[in-house]
């Protein structure tokens, strides 16, 4: 299935901004983090199509996963 992975802030270093690729069915956000060598503790916000995602819930074809490190303050 096709997924879009968007990375932000420091997570972009050495990985890029947007990755669009084919992934096996049932891929979870956890699998993606592992494939990108991002540690779970470095992830503060994880969104699937703009709403809070779950690490272990399989993604669907066409989903967008957005991953942020701890950042903030307005």
């Amino acid at each position: 299935m096709k997924l879009t992975i968007k990375l932000f802030a420091t997570l972009r270093e050495g990985r890029g901004k947007i990755l669009e690729d084919e992934y096996p069915a049932d891929t979870t956000p956890k699998d993606i983090l592992a494939s990108l060598k991002i540690e779970e503790k470095d992830v503060a916000i994880l969104l699937v199509n703009g709403v809070d995602g779950e690490l272990d819930k399989p993604l669907n074809d066409g989903d967008t996963l957005s991953i942020f490190p701890p950042v903030g303050g307005g």
């Binding site: 802030a9 916000i45 703009g50 950042v71």
Partner: protein
């Protein structure tokens, strides 16, 4: 005297008298300092029905007991007055160094009364205080005023000043200090302008005494470590400043775009914190005693200046449909030079763009710079004209509500209590909507920053669409924030600290025995006295609301698609938790319990 300096400078501009008064320590016990204590003074001294731009209004500039002490972020001051924008109590907060310097000069607060018949500035050099002629400064922009004054009174003095916007009584004028720090909101700069006071320079050479130096040293080092170890204050804010929020809030579909017509800006990446860091950032800056240093210095073409912050990037950017970050940096610069609040100035331009879109503002009013969504020249041109009240800028200087009203379309104003909302669409972040609607100074995110739990997950992650429990969160955040403001610290410390930590810092400074509970209770007391003032100033339950668009028009796309702000389902519970009656009026028993 510990923490406090115990002195107020009361300056009467009618008869040019300068008095040094003892600080009321009974009140300081109950209201801490800064925002709380100054509001207590204001409440006791000023008729809530006063016309905000008349000489009967007063302007209080207050530090907190922790300002100018070794506690992290102790550089802050607040401006308390009746707002000409909202007709509520105003309390605008600023960083930089000026606040600490006032403390070093030996004062906790300055109270300005009456009105000078000619432009003046006030020069403070420790116990020497003088009112001086400011004819030569009147009309000057902020950086020039600062430069001229530093030549006149000494390079070491810190300068607080208004720009042309404050002189011309713009209802969205700010008070500026240290060139590019702003007590931005609620038109406090217009009140200073209405008194014909251009600036206050201050130089101080003594530090406030501390009750227990050893204990303070220990707690400060613990707190600094806590700040360093926290992902937001230790890494996120220092690396990217506040602008890093652009992409986050946009991904949530809660990034107000084209005057809140949608919640997704398709060019967000071009104005993001990441792009700012890559293309324009020159250096990081910090306020007095701040280990976080979230400030930015940016360069575009031949212009190098402080900022911009997230809110400003959003306001001139997405809210005006503009993706040219270079021009946003320039518009921010002109806001600071004119002494305009960047949130209100940018969103008033956005409201003007919607009026143009609806055909209500016509081309012949626009001097060749159309107010079209996406026009990146318009944000610079109209900011300058707003500051000088030139052409349509005269109407823009009144803020979005009065601008819209003058075209029979006040509904273009995305404001609460006539103060423009900041950069988070409450349709996608429900608790923040309740915080906006109940804010004592109108549309504002820093009376209770629910973004912290609802988006960033601090101190714990809440579901941003859920309503359950949000009224309690809003109340707790409002109370805690009131105390942080009153102690004189920066709200950003609260990403890494809780109520107990603030008590732990205040106690060794002032010799008090506060606990987490008493810090929150003090915040509750401050919140209630502000509310009481607002009620006496004529505000009603109906004013605790949100713009109609947010209650009735669902977001059309993105991560918050089809959502509305569900305020009505939270407000009654909020009143109840506050101990207010159904009309939102504080009950006698609540006021008695708090000793208001």
């Amino acid at each position: 005297m510990y923490g406090y300096r115990g002195k107020i400078l009361r300056i009467n501009l009618d008869d040019k008298s300068i008095k040094k008064e003892d600080l009321n320590m009974e009140w300081a016990k109950a209201y801490l300092g800064g925002r709380g204590l100054a509001t207590k003074y204001f409440y006791e001294e000023v008729d809530p029905m006063v016309d905000a731009l008349s000489k009967e209004n007063k302007l209080i500039i207050a530090t907190g007991p922790l300002s100018g002490t070794p506690t992290p972020t102790g550089g802050r001051y607040m401006v308390i007055t009746k707002s000409p924008l909202t007709d509520t109590i105003a309390s605008s907060n600023s960083g930089g160094r000026w606040g600490a310097e006032l403390k070093f000069a030996g004062y906790d607060m300055i109270i300005l009364e009456g009105k000078s018949d000619t432009p003046v500035y006030i020069d403070i050099q420790d116990d020497q205080v003088e009112i001086k002629n400011a004819d030569h400064l009147w009309g000057q922009v902020v950086s020039k005023t600062t430069e001229l004054l530093n030549k006149e009174v000494g390079e070491k003095s810190k300068i607080l000043t208004i720009g042309p916007a404050g002189e011309k009584l713009s209802r969205i004028a700010s008070v500026m200090n240290d060139v590019d720090r702003a007590a931005g909101r609620s038109g406090v700069g217009a009140v200073m302008g209405s008194k014909n006071v251009k600036a206050i320079s201050v130089r101080g050479t003594t530090k406030p005494e501390v009750h227990d130096k050893e204990a303070l040293k220990e707690v400060v080092s613990t707190m600094n470590k806590q700040i360093k170890d926290n992902g937001v204050t230790g890494e996120g804010l220092p690396t990217y400043g506040t602008a890093v929020l652009v992409n986050i809030i946009n991904e949530l579909g809660a990034f107000p775009t084209n005057n809140f017509q949608t919640g997704v800006f398709d060019k967000a990446e071009e104005i993001s914190g990441e792009t700012l860091a890559e293309k324009y950032l020159v250096k990081r800056t910090g306020c007095y005693g701040c280990p976080i240093a979230c400030g930015r210095h940016c360069k575009v073409d031949d212009l190098e200046a402080g900022g911009p912050e997230y809110e400003t990037i959003w306001g001139f950017g997405a809210d005006c449909g503009v993706s040219d970050l270079g021009n946003i940096i320039k518009a921010n610069y002109w806001c600071n030079e004119m002494g305009l609040d960047t949130i209100s100035a940018s969103t008033t331009i956005a409201a003007g763009m919607e009026l143009y879109q609806r055909g209500l503002i016509k081309d012949d009013e626009l001097d060749g710079t159309p107010l079209e969504f996406g026009n990146s020249d318009a944000i610079i041109e109209w900011t300058k004209k707003m500051g000088l009240r030139e052409g349509l800028g005269d109407k823009l200087a009144e803020g979005s509500y009065r601008l819209g009203e003058s075209y029979g379309a006040a509904d273009v104003s995305m404001a609460v209590k006539k103060q423009e909302l900041p950069a988070y669409d409450p349709r996608g972040i429900q608790g923040q909507g309740l915080a906006y609607a109940t804010s004592n100074r109108g549309g504002c995110h820093v009376r209770a920053y629910l973004i912290s739990p609802e988006v960033l997950g601090l101190p714990e992650k809440l579901d941003r669409f859920e309503l359950d429990g949000k009224p309690q969160w809003v109340k707790t955040f409002q109370d805690l924030t009131a105390s942080i403001d009153s102690l004189g610290l920066c709200l950003f410390t609260s990403f890494a600290m809780g109520a107990g930590d603030y008590a732990a810092m205040y106690n060794p400074v002032a010799g008090t025995d506060h606990t987490a509970d008493s810090i929150l209770e003090t915040g509750d007391r401050i919140w209630n006295i502000e509310r009481l003032f607002n009620m006496k100033a004529g505000l009603k339950k109906e004013d605790d609301t949100l713009p109609k668009r947010l209650l009735k028009e669902a977001l059309p796309e993105g991560g918050s698609k089809d959502r509305l702000a569900l305020l009505d389902q939270m407000l009654p519970e909020y009143y109840q938790l506050r101990g207010w009656d159904e009309s939102g009026v504080p009950t006698e028993s609540k006021l008695k319990e708090l000793g208001v």
